[in-house]
Subunit: 248 residues, 2 copies
Amino acid sequence: MGLGKRPRLGLIGFGGFGRLMAGALCPHMDILVCDPAYVGAVLDTGQALPMGTLEDAAQCDIVVLCIPVARVPHLCARLAPLLKPGTLVVDVGSVKVEPMRVMDELLPSHVDIVGTHPLFGPQSARDGIAGHKIAVCPLRGVRWRSVAGFLRRIGLDVIVTTPEAHDREAAMVQGLTHLIAKVLAGMGPLPERMTTASFEHLRAAIGMVQDDPPTVLHAIETANPYAADIRSAFFERAERLRVQFDGV
Amino acid sequence: MGLGKRPRLGLIGFGGFGRLMAGALCPHMDILVCDPAYVGAVLDTGQALPMGTLEDAAQCDIVVLCIPVARVPHLCARLAPLLKPGTLVVDVGSVKVEPMRVMDELLPSHVDIVGTHPLFGPQSARDGIAGHKIAVCPLRGVRWRSVAGFLRRIGLDVIVTTPEAHDREAAMVQGLTHLIAKVLAGMGPLPERMTTASFEHLRAAIGMVQDDPPTVLHAIETANPYAADIRSAFFERAERLRVQFDGV
């Protein structure tokens, strides 16, 4: 990240996305994984990463929160007294307004904070993260510039934005995708034979999000302040269409 | 189509799909276009095709009905007395059960009938029809075999099926795609910046069908006997999800 020596990165959370991120970052940084749910932190390549406690992770140059949005307040409360001055704290959640407000409130003033939202996941970035998008929201300090620069160097399309602008757009992008995926998921196996190109796109869209943990849908739909309006508009238009065809 | 000389094809209907088809078939057949809505039948390449009356079109070796599903009964009634023995009548509608029943009932016993449904359109086949799918439903005569063979030779993926099996699968494939496109179309401009790969797929799916004439959605949703059930399942699951998130 433009530092002289290889930075040490404390990765808190080794779920599907944490693993994807660790794989992408380990050529560039020394990663220490903290996740009590795992005994060993093994990448898809077979490479094992060192693990440590929350205290260990908090001592790294960069601390990345790779946990469900709903757990951000609890983790920040635990993390706050452990962080040393000058640490850069980064989150990767699908929602930005409220989690970043919480980080700002709970984390000590002597750390810098950058919010990010990688607009990809283990499914869509199966063949690598290059070319995918990531939103970067500056919050505290100027190091969001070197974060953005680093992310561009590893091939990502960086969108610098505010938490509000992010959540407004993400409410539609992710809210609608996950809503539709959820509706279709319960309709039984989708046809594979007599398909149109547009249906194949629809199936690909669903395939990319249907294995996301339920916490992702929950965060998108309940923690994004703009999601309820998008949802209402969707259901309202669906109902209008139902009446149009079925007349009742 | 395996005939000794170049067959003459009477194309009834020169809308978006008729034009696409004429472009794909004119290297192989002599096409005569019948469409009272057009003064000249000009392809996207600039090539002009000869035009004629319904009587002229009915005298061709092959007669293709390229009209909205709802107009099949009316056209068949007018066409029936004009067809000569041995003519092959082909339709291209998005729904097969009822239109093929009508063709069977109204067209004289001395003509052969094959139902087809090209699973592509002017948007999805913008770069050519090769590689796209087409459903072929044999109805009267054995010439569906040479139809299927010809369609394969021009690069299409031919699925031979029954009207019932077709409509059951298409109800989901087309019913869902058009329903979702219709719901989203009214939600204002879709985001283009902060997008995920799955949202891009969703947007591509919608883009391919949103310019279809309203008669297509109408045919898919009201003329396909299985569409109502798919629609109910979709709206029921949407409502269940609404209650889950909004609690009312």
